[in-house]
């Protein structure tokens, strides 16, 4: 479980990036954090791994205060895939790239080999096993960064802006990975302003604006609140906007395009 207890973070420049944030994320929960640029989303997740320490308040990861743990210690529990894969890939080949963190965490060589093989197979990177990570395509690099994290099997997986620079097919693959992580019982936190990507996952949503959590609830309820979303410069998913525009509509918003198509086809008949 991750708990933010009245967390405020002020940058050395004097800018308040988090302003009295209180939040509890349960084990196995899937959470989407949305908000405009500069809302404090990335600052929030950097607190979970101890990259940033709160100016006031406390962040507890499985009951442990982040101020009393190093990033390396917290990262064993919380794996973060940052936005830009080019900011972490450096090894000679894909195998070594995945093994890097495992060795940092002190895994034995036999276990390192097993985990590397598992990650490579699971993410379909077999043909690139001996290739330089720098030669992979954008989507493959993204998958590799997530493979690197899942290799040490953290309980919490954080994806920071996973859809940036990804085409539709890669986004589909990312959705599948997130669904798989949820079904494996991982706590999944997705930070994104790609609302169309997040909507079909139907997770709990936290809306941030100017360092504050301004709304927190299930996507199906929260995405109906157009004004709340607008105040955080977040647009509604198109399917929700369509749902609200209909006079004769079903009890719950459309989650997938085919739901809307079937409903409208029924109306036309």
């Amino acid at each position: 479980m991750i708990e933010f207890k009245d967390v405020t973070f002020v940058h050395p420049t004097g800018t308040t990036a988090l302003d009295h944030v209180s939040l509890t994320i349960g084990d196995g929960e899937a959470l989407a954090v949305v908000g405009e640029n500069g809302a404090g989303k990335t600052t929030l997740i950097k607190h979970i791994t101890g990259l940033l320490k709160p100016t006031s308040g406390a962040v507890l990861v499985d009951g442990e205060d982040s101020r009393e743990r190093t990033t390396a210690e917290l990262s064993k529990k919380v794996g973060v895939a940052f936005q830009n894969p080019d900011h972490q890939l450096f090894s000679e080949n894909v195998e070594e790239e995945i093994a890097f963190a495992l060795r940092n965490f002190g895994f034995g060589e036999e276990l390192v080999k097993q985990r590397v093989d598992w990650a490579i197979n699971f993410f379909g990177l077999e043909e690139y096993r001996r290739s330089s990570p720098l030669t992979l395509s954008g989507g493959e690099k993204k998958r590799l960064t997530i493979a690197c994290i899942l290799s040490w099997d953290p309980g919490v997986v954080v994806l920071d802006e996973p859809t940036v620079g990804q085409d539709v097919i890669q986004k589909e693959k990312l959705s599948e990975i997130i669904r798989m992580l949820k079904s494996a019982g991982k706590t999944v936190i997705v930070v994104s302003h790609d609302i169309e990507f997040l909507w079909p996952m139907q997770t709990r949503v936290v809306v941030m604006s100017r360092g504050r959590v301004i709304a927190d609830g299930p996507a199906a309820e929260l995405m109906l609140q157009r004004e709340t979303l607008a105040s955080a410069r977040v647009s509604q998913p198109q399917l929700v906007a369509l749902y609200q525009a209909l006079k004769n509509r079903p009890p719950a918003p459309f989650v997938h395009v085919h739901d809307a198509r079937n409903w409208i086809a029924g109306l036309v008949k």
Partner: protein
């Protein structure tokens, strides 16, 4: 790291010093730099540092120059220890360390108060080849960008269990590899993208492009230049003829 870099990178500030012609700011820094090189006494060097701090206060950058000094102290201490171990001369070792601090603060005064655009104008004034000027100014412009990259890369690698401050000196140097490789690769990619973007915006289409801003020295610039040269001459005279003592 960001805190340290703040002591070296230009940030737009409204002050009398910032408004000076960049060529005058360069002249001031060169004169102070020269004094730091030719001075033979610790007191003289302390006087130069104090003068730079006064100029920094006028330029409203005293805190940032102080950061530069704090950052420099580590290297200065290294210079002091090395010289003391080799030469066994305490005062001479202090002199070398103080000279290093003076040199750094005089140069940082110029870079903190001069924008990359002004720097370009200064270099053009010396009729340096345009490509060299562009490459140098671009490199200066990209320092903050590379710094942000470095911080993000460090965050990403720390999140993969890298403990950069762990182990002996050799281990710590090796720990830098996962940061340096992505930093260099990103810089190379960025420079390629920049070159393409510049070419698509007609860079090099004319041999002598015109400039948006032309610098003309004002009366204040001329007065400051004359006063600076006179003070410099007086300081040199004082260093060699009025206080010809060694070290202290």
């Amino acid at each position: 790291m960001n805190w340290v870099a703040g002591g070296f990178i230009f940030r737009r500030t409204e002050s009398v010093y910032h408004r000076l012609d960049p060529r005058v700011k360069l002249l001031l820094s060169i004169l102070l730099f020269t004094l730091a090189i030719i001075s033979r006494s610790i007191l003289e060097l302390l006087g130069i540092i104090a003068f730079v701090l006064v100029l920094s206060e006028i330029a409203k950058i005293l805190r940032r120059v102080s950061r530069t000094m704090v950052f420099t102290m580590g290297f200065a201490a290294f210079i002091f220890v090395l010289n003391y171990l080799i030469g066994k001369n305490l005062l001479l070792s202090v002199l070398y360390a103080a000279r290093f601090v003076a040199i750094v603060v005089t140069t940082s005064l110029f870079f903190i108060t001069t924008s990359p655009d002004e720097l370009e104008q200064v270099m053009n004034a010396f009729h340096l080849p345009r490509d060299i000027v562009f490459a140098f100014v671009t490199a200066v412009r990209f320092i903050p960008v590379m710094l942000m990259d470095a911080l993000q890369i460090m965050d990403a690698q720390k999140s993969r269990g890298l403990e950069m401050q762990k182990g002996n000196l050799v281990r710590r140097v090796r720990n830098m590899v996962p940061v340096l490789i992505p930093l260099v690769v990103n810089s190379v990619i960025r420079s390629g993208e920049l070159a393409e973007a510049m070419e698509s915006r007609a860079y090099g289409a004319v041999a002598r492009p015109t400039s948006l801003n032309l610098y003309r020295s004002s009366l204040v610039d001329r007065v400051v230049s004359v006063v600076a040269v006179v003070l410099f001459a007086l300081a040199v005279y004082a260093f060699y003829f009025v206080f010809p003592t060694q070290l202290l």
